[in-house]
Symmetry: C2
Subunit: 237 residues, 2 copies
Amino acid sequence: MKVEVCFSPALFPCFENPEAVAVIVDILRASSAIVTAFENGAEKIIPVGTLDEAREYKAKGYVVAAERDGLIQDFADFGNSPFNFTPEAVQGRQIVYSTTNGTQAIRLASSCHAVAIGAYLNFTALCKWLTDSKRDVIILCAAWKNKFSLEDSVFAGAIVHHLLETGNFTTDCDSAKASLDLYLIARNDLMAYIDKAAQRHRLRKNKLDDVIGYCHTFDLARTVPVLENDYLTAYRD
Amino acid sequence: MKVEVCFSPALFPCFENPEAVAVIVDILRASSAIVTAFENGAEKIIPVGTLDEAREYKAKGYVVAAERDGLIQDFADFGNSPFNFTPEAVQGRQIVYSTTNGTQAIRLASSCHAVAIGAYLNFTALCKWLTDSKRDVIILCAAWKNKFSLEDSVFAGAIVHHLLETGNFTTDCDSAKASLDLYLIARNDLMAYIDKAAQRHRLRKNKLDDVIGYCHTFDLARTVPVLENDYLTAYRD
């Protein structure tokens, strides 16, 4: 099987492959938050692209998480911090979720055979799901308003590293090779490396950078969020 | 001043800045070929996007260089190898040039204040032109059919490295930081690093890889090709 990395939703048309499985990566913070929500017992997450859609769901009584540019929207129950998705807030509930970059990427990838959400938090479970799928893999970085993002690409490199090591995957994708090399530079001290990422500075400016360490911690969760029709649900091995 | 790197023409809308100067990078092989042509005395290069345009110019008696997917087009005088652009072939002449990725990128960047063509071959002259411009710099990688290309990104990293070292430039662009790190891995043995690039394999398959070493040689040329209206001309300090 092949593994490829797509650095931006705007480049996804170059990678489209209905037979492949896609992994959506938005490390800071949407994919880390979604994994946390399911690990804490959320039943279902409905990704919506626009704030208008999110507002409509809120009016119907749903729990709504919605942020733009890292900031919680006034009508929403909470924003994009994984720390919002506590067991008290999410257990057994359906959550509507709209973020700047993450939810658009999820919708885009829905042309693939299957879609999962990937984060350091569920790394081992995710890699097992990918290996078990026995299909080509496209890692779609949610990026920042379509611009390449360092923290997503480094994590993509971690997945590429693992999949190539299994011996079941190959790659002829330059983005996958670049991601792998960035991961190999970063892996001894992920936090130090990610300190230079633009998103790190955006979060710090808004005092939202308390989650960076958590979002770069391997394997706190065993859940793989997967897309089923138009919502996400939890896959556990 | 700021320096940014755009990994693909498809991402250029995220970077557009009419006050900035743009550098087009298509190391294998368009930007290396264009630099070589001017160094060998070409008077003017007219970049055209489509093969139909190139054919029309040919009918009017122009010298035409045209390739697609690395292969010379049957109506053209020559293709995309820098070795085609000898003094005998180009001196004092106007050349019409259409390539898979390079010429489209040039047209796209024409919204910027000024556009130059960058290659290892003219590295020092290019960096001086950029520094002298005293403007923000956008490095536009021509990429391969909009997919990230390793050899263009590594070269972008070489420019970023140089500009940051001058102390006159800063960057908050994740692509620039990633390019720089890839260049720092690659620089001790560029040829060995580039061996894994997809374009390296495409060229080898078509027996067109004789140019790789030449295209990764610093400072064989002192010319900076710059866009003037809708054609390229030679700038020499």
